[in-house]
Symmetry: C2
Subunit: 462 residues, 2 copies
């Protein structure tokens, strides 16, 4: 009760103390609520991108078509300085992918190769399965238990609002394959890093540290992984046949699409926002990350349509996030000399924003309180955690730029993440508009307030 009272008093003081920008606050509320109740830009962008381009794997012709779509759309919306910034990167392509239990109970299993997986020989491989529950059990296994076999790693991922389980269990996908290679495995199949129960495997990138030979690496759907566990539980030796055609295919071009809402004062710096335009190849990338580019574009459009903001808002549709953040790296390198005052990214679906976090030079910066005030009517409260940005804006943030996170509800995100099921029908238009409203409010404050969030040490948050 005492804490509540203190908080109320603090709020009241703040209210009285900020009587000067009260008109501005009204203007922010008006923009925010117009977005909440009537935005059509985000849906239009998202429906267009997922329908007219569909899947858009990094560095493929489909991703190039997504850039062309972005340029056309951003120009039609009236954004300024719309252009593509290209870079080269290694191209990975999916091929055939089949799995079959040969014995003791013959049946097909559904799986998808992980990004950067290598191929089996064309006829596939047949080998006994050695199973582990979790990464720790696998790490503890002696090499001779694994050598020449197909490693299977399962786990128990549950839905969490902040998506935290992905952090802990994602290591199975990131690091399991390279560890399996080092231990001499013939191949590795993991239980999809996901929380659904459909026959749609979750792909995603894996990595091969220098000197580690790539091996065939794939994710079984959660349903198929649990089936394999039940088969293994019978105690009989289990033999799998795997055919994976995935392979690296040389160097190819990717690119970022950049657009701006020009600010009144070029010296007031740039606010960088965006998401990524590439997607995995299995779905049409609605939640990952068509929503992110749609939300940030729609919010910037709200400011584009009014009086010019103090600061320039730069919206970037980043390329090649999925295979490892090539677009974000290329952007940071190309724009290291620009004066960014803030970065923010939307890359966690389209469910409602429920919390926000700020990484500023001074944690008592009054802008944080102002942000809280304009976000509160949307049901958004301050997070106790740090702001992280994301893969796309991370390299720019690391140059010393403050970060705002508008944290989305991730309860259902990993039901769909990186699967064929990441499609437009999974988007709730009402929650999408709430996202646009939150971003609009954030931009209206941060692009117009004479104060900023300061400068951070280089490499912060890395």
């Amino acid at each position: 009760m005492k804490r509540l009272l203190s908080a109320l008093i603090a709020l009241l003081c703040c209210w009285i103390g900020t009587s000067a920008p009260a008109v501005a606050a009204d203007r922010v509320a008006e923009l925010r609520d117009a977005a909440l109740n009537g935005d059509t830009v985000a849906w239009d962008v998202l429906e267009g991108l997922t329908t007219e381009v569909g899947p858009r794997l990094a560095a493929t012709p489909a991703e190039a078509r997504a850039r062309a779509f972005a340029v056309e759309k951003l120009k039609a919306l009236g954004f300024k300085n719309v252009h593509i910034e290209t870079y080269d990167m290694p191209l990975w392509e999916r091929g055939v992918e089949t799995a079959e239990v040969i014995s003791p109970f013959p049946q097909k299993l559904v799986l998808a190769a992980l990004g950067n997986s290598s191929a089996t020989p064309p006829g596939g491989i047949t080998a006994p399965v050695v199973a582990f529950d979790g990464i720790a059990a696998f790490m503890a296994a002696p090499d001779e238990a694994v050598r020449g076999k197909i490693v299977f790693i399962t786990h128990h991922m549950a839905q969490q609002q902040d998506g935290g389980s992905y952090g802990e269990l994602g290591v199975i996908r990131f690091a399991g394959p390279s560890m399996a290679s080092k231990k001499g495995a013939a191949a590795i199949v993991i239980k999809s890093i996901g929380t659904d129960n459909h026959r749609v495997p979750h792909t995603g990138v894996t990595g091969w540290p220098s000197g580690v030979a790539p091996i065939p690496a794939a994710a079984l759907s959660t349903v198929d992984a649990d089936q394999l566990s039940r088969i293994l539980a019978r105690g009989k030796p289990v033999t799998l046949h795997l055919t994976i055609g995935a392979h690296m295919a040389g160097t190819a071009q990717s690119g970022n699409v950049v657009a701006e809402v020009p600010g009144r004062d070029p010296k007031a710096g740039i606010i960088l926002i965006g998401g990524h335009l590439d997607s995995w190849d299995l779905g049409t990338g609605a939640i990952d990350d068509g929503a992110g580019v749609a939300i940030t574009t729609a919010a910037a459009k709200k400011l584009l349509d009014g009086p010019a903001p103090l600061r320039t808002i730069r919206v970037v549709w980043f390329g090649a996030e999925e295979p490892g953040g090539f677009g974000g790296e290329a952007y940071a390198k190309a724009h290291a000399a620009d004066r960014h005052v803030l970065v923010a990214e939307s890359d966690f679906g389209a469910d409602r924003v429920w919390r926000f976090a700020v990484r500023a030079q001074d944690t008592k910066n009054p802008l944080i309180e102002k942000l809280g005030q304009v976000l509160s009517p949307l049901g958004i409260t301050a997070s106790h955690g740090d702001a992280h940005g994301g893969t796309d804006v991370g390299p720019t943030a690391a140059l010393g730029v403050p970060v705002v996170d508008l944290g989305q509800d991730g309860t259902h995100y990993f039901d769909l993440h990186h699967t064929a099921d990441d499609t437009l029908d999974k988007i709730d238009p009402k929650q999408l508009r709430q996202n646009v409203a939150a971003w609009t409010a954030m931009l209206a404050v941060m692009a117009n307030d004479p104060g900023d969030l300061g400068v951070l040490p280089k490499g912060h948050g890395e």
Copy 2:
């Protein structure tokens, strides 16, 4: 209120009037509630069949393994006269199946061939799409609008507790392909007859009346069908590339597995119950129809474990239901001389029984009231409709045998029906036990009551 009062009075009269079988009713309640609270047989059968056999397409080696599993399981449970009755039938096999929008927006679509579909040439076919919303619009189209094209028929199926929308919209799958062939189409793709939004197409049988040439026929997932509709809505010509490898593969053997709980009085007749052991090849056939054989077997087991019932209970795991009820036809032919007094089938998933229906010689038969009394504590009420049996017991019912339906909640049935997602994890063990309890109660009444449901005209309900 007056109706309620009359109903209460009727119930009370019935209660008083049936004081003689009160002890028997207690025994029925005891068996029923033991099943409700403690049955493990149904889960054991279902988990075993879906794990150790998995998918079991009719007339394939997988279906033969399912028969072997059934014999072993039924013998282990103590059933009598366990044996296989074989028959020959045409074998259909799935092959490769791919779909791709060539223009205007290149992208892959997910589909599955329908049972009895023919193949495209190995390299596939490329043709313009002509789209229809519903079967009536398609029927009205002139042949020249369709000739040489790929027909696409969409629809708007919603969940219904009684699954009624399948009756109305299923005709798109049953009859759409043959109509497309007659109109000269190159191939047909339909929106899956289903109510989910996942990338798992719903297969199922289609038919070619005599003289109609089979053409490639497949179902897009509901998500892919809606994507195709959005693409078409842009108004540009749409070209699809289809590759279908499905084909007929000669004659092969299928079979029914028969088991019995012998009755005390061979002259009192046989109660035929069961489900079908075959499944489509995409899923592991948990709801369709592993659940049906598991539920009916578990209920019969409850009577097997007590004093012998008056009548023989015959449990049949029918073969080859999916491609057209070959098992049910073969059984009726082989057992036409047997005195069946009742048939009942479980083939609508594993969600709770919510209503029952009886087809008897006399609609006032007191057994119907008795059934209602023992089912009522499970939340089951009388249906206003007729009892239909199902594909497996239908041919036997048509010989003049009464039918009991224990109707399951079908709200989610067509989310999963005939898809890769029809797997064990979709089964709720509690609702599965409620099914076993309902079947146990029904059998305990019908196998022991001196009265029966009479004899019906041959061909009833056809």
